[in-house]
Structures are given as structure tokens and as C-alpha cells.
């Protein structure tokens, strides 16, 4: 089991989160996805969508990152590294669970070698003492570039969520 690394100093999370709104560095963490979401993530960085417009930048190390773009259903072989990558991030740490796989395990939510989506990972992280400050789930298979950008906006509190839990009674005809 992972023991959390010693933490140095304390951070004013609210202040840091406020500063994040103008500059957000993302680390792309593939946990066993089919590559569909991953290439859409790259797509978001390239000329057509160009998220540098919003101050978003892709970085190569979780130590530099503010936000993890998590794709894939988290397979058991990657689990170890995923936990370590998230643990290596400085706080405030944010996670964007992308695609059906990241949100709910996708088409493989119930196979023998996947964990089945970020919610299950979060439980595990909690038990290991690794805290994640904010999570946003972005469904899609693969997730559309527009949806990723919207997800980031939602994460930073710049947009309002448009879907809500609904429970509808069937109308007898």
C-alpha cells in the first residue's frame, strides 16, 4: 500500500485555485484508454482548437501540472503508476476524467483487468490518503474536443453544468 510522501509546507488552496484560472498546466495521463480520447486531447492543443488561448499548456511531468487529464478505464497494470502520478502532483491538484472510460469504465467497465473508471480510483486514493481537490467528469466516446474545453471551464467555475440527475415517471398512454 502507498504511504503518502511527506508534505512540505502548507498551501493556501483557495488562493492558488484563484490563480489557476489564468494559467492551467495539464498532464496527460493515459490509464489504458483506446487512444481515442488521447488524440482528441492532442487535438485540443493544436491549431483548430488551440487551448493555449485559455492559458492551458501541456507539461511533461506531473510535478509541474495543475490538472490531470485522465483517460482510460484504469487497468490493473497501470493502477500503480496512476496513483503515483497523482500523488506526485503539487496541490491544488485537479482531475478531469475524460471519456466514457474515465467516467464510468466505458465498454470495459466490468472486465477482469480494469478498475472501471475514476470514481473507483478516487475511493482507492482516499484510502491511501491522496487528496484530489476537484474532479470533473466529461463523458463522450471519444470525448469531443469541445467537450474537453467545456469540462475545463466547468472545473474552473467559468461555466455552469448543463446536465442534472433526472428521474422521470413514465406517462401511461
Amino acid at each position: 500500500m502507498v504511504e503518502a510522501l511527506p508534505r512540505n509546507g502548507s498551501v493556501d488552496l483557495a488562493k492558488a485555485f484563484d490563480k489557476l484560472k489564468r494559467s492551467i498546466w495539464v498532464f496527460h495521463l493515459n490509464t489504458g484508454s483506446c487512444n481515442g480520447c488521447d488524440i482528441e486531447v492532442l487535438d485540443v492543443l493544436t491549431p483548430y482548437f488551440d487551448v493555449e488561448r485559455f492559458g492551458i499548456k501541456l507539461v511533461g511531468s506531473p510535478r509541474h501540472a495543475d490538472l490531470i487529464l485522465l483517460t482510460g478505464p484504469i487497468t490493473i497494470k497501470t493502477l500503480d503508476k496512476v496513483v503515483r502520478a497523482i500523488d506526485a502532483m503539487p496541490r491544488p491538484r485537479l482531475v478531469l476524467a475524460l471519456g466514457s472510460c474515465g467516467v464510468g469504465g466505458g465498454i470495459w467497465f466490468n472486465t477482469y483487468s480494469t478498475l472501471g473508471g475514476y470514481p473507483k480510483l478516487q475511493e482507492l486514493l482516499k484510502s491511501l490518503g491522496v487528496e484530489v481537490d476537484k474532479v470533473v467528469y466529461v463523458p463522450g466516446c471519444p470525448v469531443r474536443p469541445e467537450a474537453i474545453i467545456y469540462g475545463v471551464a466547468l472545473l474552473l467555475g467559468l461555466a455552469e453544468p448543463k446536465v442534472r440527475y433526472e428521474r422521470v415517471e413514465a406517462v401511461e398512454g
Binding site: 509546507g9 490563480k19 489564468r22 488551440d50 492559458g55 511531468s61 510535478r63
Partner: protein, 298 residues
């Protein structure tokens, strides 16, 4: 030293502190244009990045306390090299001693950042720094040769302008431009930090304030190098005149050179450490040989 000099130096030092991130922002905008993108929202983007890093958590890398310390040391030397350079320019006290001090300050800040990454435990860091050391060994040679030759030729030009001393100046300037370009850590010579497969190489383990400081120092260093080139060029054009004019021209020219370097970098790919060293070595040796020949005949 009178009051005006002191205030001029401090004014220029403050400008120099704010200018590099701003120039980086402009460079990012320009690069985005070349890549048919829009780029960051404003030229202030790099400032926002640094401000954010300042308030983020600092995760100490394994055995990395020394690394963090050296990053801060490197910032101090970098700032003092700018201040000292300004002092030298304004007071026109360019002599062998001041040149030596300048070179020591600049290379020190350069090498301290390297030391910082060697002292972490991450192999990516170590490989990144190892590469940079290899590159630096060659480049420092070119830098010193170019810097000294240019300054010497400038002095000669101001007293006794001959075509040959002008040639010497041109050769020295060429070496200076190439070596400062490499020293800036720009493509294709940014192999210590940006090999994508090495996950940002030298700075992989830094986070929060340490990363911010490292990046800031890096930008400062780019600025210092551009400043040197700007100085070498502007002195030829305007000579040693009024300090205020010198500073205004310098700031402008430095910015132009900074951006120009950025534009060149956007058009190139990354070299490999053996290829890069070989190219630079050949270039410097031939430039130095030409210089020696030029001097002999002058």
C-alpha cells in the same frame, strides 16, 4: 557614483526583471502565429504562469533540497549579472577585470541551474544535465572567444577602424550570436530540458516556487545573453554616448534579438547531443582560426 547613475542602474535592473517574462509572452504569441494558432490570451501569460507557480505547493524531490537551493542561488547570480552589466555600461568601465567578472557571473548562473538538476535523484534530470554539460563545455569556449573578440574588436574599431578589424568584429559577433543562441537553450539546442521523451529533463522534479524560480532564471538568462549581443551591436552603431540613450537603445535591441531568436527556434527541430556538439565544435574552431588569422594580419 552619483545619484543619477544609481537610479539609472536600479531602473534598468527593474525593467530587466520584468521584461523577460513579457518578452516570453510576446515570443509565444509570435510562435503561435507561425504555427497558425492564436496562442496565449495576452502577452502577460508567462507572468500569470509564474504567479501561479509561486502559490502552488512545493513538493520536495527526493534528496532535492540542494537542488532547490541552487535554483535560488542561480537566480541571484543571474540578477546580479544584469545589474553589473548595466553598471559597466553606464559607467563605461569596460576593462579586462570587468569582462572577467561578467563572464564569471553569467557562466555561474548558467552552471548553477545545471548543478541543481544533477543533485536530484531523477535519472531524467541527470541525463538532461549531463547533456547540457556536454553542450556547455563546447559552448562556453565559443562564448568566451566570441565575447572577448567582439569587445576587443570594438575597442580597436573606435580608435583605429580598418577593414580587417571590422572583419574581426564580424567574426567575433558571429561566434557571440551563435553561442548566446545556444546558451539561451533554444531549439535545436534545448536538449537539456525539452527532450519530450525525457519528460522535461533537467527540471522534471521541480514544482511550485522552485519550478517558477527555475523558469524565471532561465528567462533571465535568455535576456542576459540577448543583452550581450545587443550591446555588441549597439556600441558599434551609437558608440559610447549618453547613458540614457544607451539604455533605451539597448532595451529595444535586446527585445528585438530575443524575439528574433524565438522566431528562429520555431522553424527548427531538435538536434541530438552528439550532432549538436560536433556542429558547434567545428563552427567555433573555424571561427577562432579565422579570428586569429585576421588578428595576425591586423
Amino acid at each position: 557614483m552619483d545619484f543619477i547613475t544609481i537610479s539609472l542602474i536600479s531602473f534598468f535592473a527593474v525593467v530587466s526583471a520584468f521584461l523577460p517574462p513579457l518578452l516570453d509572452g510576446v515570443e509565444r504569441k509570435v510562435r503561435a502565429k507561425i504555427q497558425s494558432r492564436i496562442g496565449p490570451p495576452t502577452v502577460m501569460q508567462t507572468w500569470y504562469d509564474l504567479r501561479k507557480l509561486a502559490v502552488k505547493e512545493l513538493k520536495m524531490p527526493l534528496g532535492g533540497e540542494l537542488a532547490v537551493l541552487t535554483v535560488f542561488l542561480s537566480l541571484i547570480t543571474s540578477v546580479s549579472s544584469i545589474a553589473y552589466l548595466t553598471y559597466v555600461l553606464i559607467t563605461s568601465t569596460l576593462n579586462p577585470l570587468s569582462i572577467a567578472t561578467l563572464i564569471v557571473l553569467i557562466t555561474a548562473s548558467h552552471n548553477l541551474t545545471l548543478l541543481s538538476s544533477v543533485s536530484t535523484s531523477n535519472p531524467f534530470s541527470i541525463v538532461g544535465s549531463y547533456r547540457n554539460v556536454t553542450l556547455l563545455l563546447v559552448n562556453e569556449f565559443g562564448f568566451m572567444a566570441g565575447f572577448i573578440a567582439t569587445l576587443y574588436a570594438l575597442v580597436r574599431l573606435s580608435t583605429n577602424p580598418t577593414p580587417l578589424s571590422f572583419l574581426a568584429y564580424a567574426l567575433g559577433l558571429a561566434a557571440l550570436i551563435v553561442s548566446t543562441y545556444v546558451g539561451c537553450g533554444r531549439l535545436p539546442y534545448d536538449i537539456h530540458e525539452a527532450e519530450p521523451e525525457l519528460a522535461s529533463g533537467a527540471l522534471i522534479e521541480f514544482s511550485g516556487v522552485a519550478l517558477g524560480t527555475y523558469l524565471y532564471t532561465h528567462l533571465m538568462m535568455r535576456y542576459v545573453f540577448s543583452l550581450l549581443v545587443a550591446y555588441a551591436i549597439s556600441t558599434l552603431i551609437i558608440g559610447f554616448t549618453n547613458a540614457l540613450v544607451v539604455i533605451a537603445v539597448l532595451a529595444l535591441l535586446t527585445s528585438i534579438i530575443y524575439i528574433l531568436y524565438g522566431v528562429v527556434a520555431a522553424m527548427l527541430g531538435r538536434t541530438r547531443v552528439d550532432l549538436g556538439v560536433r556542429t558547434l565544435f567545428t563552427l567555433y574552431v573555424s571561427l577562432t582560426l579565422c579570428l586569429v588569422v585576421a588578428w595576425l594580419f591586423a
